[in-house]
């Protein structure tokens, strides 16, 4: 073969290789385009698996605890056996990214049918993207047929009347709870015995704080890596939630002007600007936050930068004497410490009468209405009826018992005997109840509160000063900062929330128009009538709440203006 032939041959080979490359590239591009087109324009809500015509329900959650995913998977397969034309898929998302993921999916209209709801989902978000369920929950759950809950309205099959699914700010049911959650402390019994010579953890706050101090001293004197309480920003939040509810509950009697047991943003404004509460001098605020500061002294250093897993690791490795967690962690913690050390579970301690803080923190927080694991129905669900039906199945007496046993969680439905290991987590209904929240009412106030609170609890006491004097000074700096931020940003937050929630209501109005149009054209059916009534009632209730909220906002504005005038007359600026 001569050189020219060889070159020709090489050129031909190169051409063929190029063509193959182009074919592969074009093939991949066309395949992707076809896949996207099919998913976008294809039959709505049908399986994307070729060759099947199943209706698909997608359920998103952030529960990555051991046992949750397989437990739900088993329930999904059982449901599919009952409904061979339905396929259920679950989408587990890590908790840290969950909020952003859900928001992006909702905005992109690609959200799953059922979405586990975070308690911070705002009214404007819920009203805009989730379906009100009030018209659905007063019908019996057919999956309970043959049990003692047969014929009982779905709502009443819950141990707390489905209260976690109700949004007071929207005056409608938007969520379907699946489990019941309580918070408890865990203690390493070996450490308690070794360091303090006790076999049971103390139930009073003074005893608890003394134990923490003893463990801290022991660790320092013996140079061992041990902390009294394993914490992360998440678990520290559990203490904060408990003690702020317990310590600030008397404030609800002052701030809840319509006495409906809830606190609206308008009521918060009135409280802040109308002179009902002065947080800078309020004894409940002071005692609660000082107690929270004291507790933080016994957490592992750097707990604010630690993750939930870090705290679990610290406790299960025997490097921490105690740990706070929800009942959802009970199963995984028990399995992690098995054969390592015995664990005692106990309630968050409250001060005994006459003890420090007992003038403010008088009782534990009642655990009525502690259902959680709430799933909402997305407005973009392609098969809303099937999605709700799946939730009915999941919250039927039998399925709820099975699934919660697999999760090691407390069931949300009446008549189920919980697992023996969960006995310490059984909800205790006696105690105080407070919806008063010391954080803000919208993004600007909440962000600033969180920044100030984190700085407050993470600052180390000045050793050159008397501790009590220093803590007093430190608390005052914190509370004045929070007060100034509240004064500056509360109105803005209120206005933003109010406007956004209103535009969500416009969407409901559009849904009502569709139902009315269908009634006109197709004739009024009992189902349409039921939906129309439920949606209208919800809308009317919301309008009423909004009107009251606005009048309280106007009132608070007047108070703020008066404060400014008074301050100007005195030659200073408004507080």
């Amino acid at each position: 073969m001569n050189v020219v032939d060889l070159e020709k041959r090489q050129a031909r080979g190169e051409r063929i290789r190029n063509i193959i490359g182009v074919i592969i590239l074009a093939g991949a591009f066309l395949w992707s385009a076809a896949e996207v087109a099919y998913l976008t324009f294809g039959p709505r809500g049908e399986s994307n698996l070729l060759g099947t015509n199943k209706k698909v329900i997608r359920i998103a959650h952030w529960q990555l605890e051991g046992g949750y995913v397989p437990g739900l998977e088993k329930a999904m397969r059982e449901y599919e056996k009952l409904h061979p034309d339905v396929a259920v898929e679950q989408i587990p998302i890590p908790e840290r990214a969950y909020g952003q993921w859900v928001q992006t999916q909702l905005m992109g209209r690609t959200a799953p049918d059922l979405i586990e709801m975070k308690d911070w989902f705002s009214a404007s978000m819920v009203v805009r993207y989730f379906v009100p369920l009030t018209d659905k929950i007063d019908k019996p759950n057919s999956y309970n047929d043959g049990t003692d809950l047969a014929g009982v309205p779905w709502r009443d099959t819950y141990i707390d009347g489905m209260v976690a699914g109700y949004r007071t700010d929207l005056q409608d049911y938007y969520g379907m709870p699946t489990s019941c959650f309580t918070f408890r402390c865990f203690a390493n019994a070996d450490i308690l015995k070794k360091v303090a010579g006790i076999s049971e953890p103390p139930h009073d706050l003074t005893g608890f704080l003394a134990l923490c101090q003893k463990i801290q001293d022991y660790a320092r004197d013996n140079r061992v890596k041990m902390v009294p309480i394993a914490a992360s920003d998440y678990t520290a939040g559990l203490f904060h939630r408990f003690y702020q509810s317990s310590g600030l509950y008397p404030l609800i009697a002052i701030t809840d002007v319509d006495m409906d047991g809830t606190l609206t943003n308008g009521e918060r404004l009135l409280a802040e600007f109308g002179g009902k509460i002065n947080i800078t001098t309020d004894p409940h605020w002071e005692a609660t936050h000082k107690l929270l500061y004291e507790l933080c002294r016994y957490y592992n250093p750097g707990f604010l930068a630690a993750r939930r897993d870090d705290a679990v690791f610290l406790f299960t490795q025997g490097n921490a004497a105690m740990f706070a967690a929800g009942s959802w962690d009970a199963g995984s913690i028990r399995s992690l410490v098995e054969n390592k050390f015995p664990v005692k579970v106990f309630d968050f301690p409250v001060p005994a009468p006459g003890e420090k803080y007992s003038n403010v923190i008088k009782d534990r927080v009642g655990e009525a209405g502690m259902t959680g694991g709430v799933f909402g129905l997305s407005k973009f669900s392609r098969n809303p009826e099937i999605a709700v039906d799946f939730m009915r199945f999941l919250t039927s007496q039998k399925a709820n018992a099975d699934v919660n046993r697999a999760w090691s969680w407390f069931p949300a439905i009446r008549g189920i005997t919980p697992d023996e290991n969960l006995k310490p987590f059984e909800p205790k209904v006696e105690g105080v109840f407070s919806p008063y929240d010391d954080t803000g009412i919208g993004d600007d106030t909440i962000l600033r509160y969180n920044q100030a609170y984190k700085a407050f609890i993470s600052t180390i006491p000045d050793e050159k000063m008397d501790y009590e004097v220093w803590l007093d000074k430190h608390y005052k700096e914190f509370v004045h900062q929070v007060d100034a931020d509240f004064k500056q940003y509360m109105f803005k937050d209120f206005e933003t929330n109010w406007k956004n929630a209103y535009s969500g209501g416009v969407q409901t109005e559009a849904s009502l128009s569709v139902i009315r149009a269908r009634a006109v054209h197709e004739g009024m059916t009992p189902e349409l009538s039921h939906n129309l009534l439920a949606l209208t009632l919800g809308q009317v209730r919301r309008m009423q709440v909004r009107a009251v909220d606005w009048s309280q906002y106007e009132e608070a504005k007047k108070f703020a203006a008066k404060d400014e005038q008074n301050a100007a007359a005195k030659g200073g600026s408004a507080p």
């Binding site: 750097g302 930068a305 962000l447 700085a455 993470s458 180390i460 000045d462 535009s503």
Partner: protein
Amino acid sequence: VKTVTLRQLRHRWGLYLLILPALALIGIFEYYPAISAGYHSFYRWNGDDISEYVGWKNFIDAFHDAVFGKSFYLVSILILANFVKMVPSIITAVVIHRLTSERWRYYYRVLFVIPMIIPDMVWLLIWKYFYNPTVGALNAILNISVSATNPDASLMGLLKWADSTTGLPWVASALSPYTYIILAMLVVGIVLWIVGHRQDNGLRWFGILATAIALVMLAGEFAWPRTTGAFSSGSPSWLGQSELIVPSLIFWGFPWVGVVSVLLYLAGLANIGQDIYDAAEIDGCGWFRKFWNIELPLILTQVRLNLILMIIGTLQGWGLNFILLGDDGGPSGVGMVPGLYMFHKAFGAMEAGYAVAIGLVLFFLTLILTLVNNRYVRVQK
């Protein structure tokens, strides 16, 4: 520049057609979002259905927003720190370049490529573990004591002492006695400097040294103006206490030898011919003069490129702060950078209109800094 006539364009239309898909993709995924951001920055927009025209309000709010303003304070510190952190990469590249063995030079280049395949998340976890106050390596190293009985005979003890000595009058309860010593040292140093300069003797150098030390210590006093007690427990919480967060972010990545930067500088250094070094040798240039007069000027193109990328990266970066401190920037929000605030507003507060306004402010700032960089960092060809 060759001009393409319409006739040629018509003749070669097939070729121009080939660039259309790329142009379309750039248009859809780069320019359309940018134009949309510009448009929505004038709206109260939630990224979805709420869209109300508000004029310049988002920009005015941004300029009055204390959190946003404070985030620029942090980002300025980080840019300055990152500027200093560029030096180790340059030094490392020069040292590798000067290796006489070609084989060893190759091995070092390979060694610098290997870390590139390690995912960023692994680096992040390694550093997070390093800073862990309870089981982390940093506190363990700082706590190594030279005395079996005195734990304070360690670097941690030194930090504890330094922390306890600081205190400026406007932030601390009392002026630290050490501040008086530093001020006295500064005065003595300046006096010795002046006297030595007039008499033209060695006192001048003592004066310069004392002044320099006093100034460094005074800068330390300003950077760390009050006793925090952060080290008193022996296990400081590097990422959980407001005073330690910024130093921890600056120390992050020590010894700050950037893999890509070193390879870039090496590529630049490879272009310097041996004849230049030979000429420098004949002229009697030492190792520093070779670096200062030959190597550094000739890799200034790469330095400028790295500088621009560093400024853009620092101004727009937020992922590290988000993962380490959450979207509120940690205690007192000290870890809040503009990018993180933009993310928080877009995905936490659903104030997408405000977030894109922040994004545009960042864009113009980056543009200005890049133009300044191009204008004033001159490259010797």
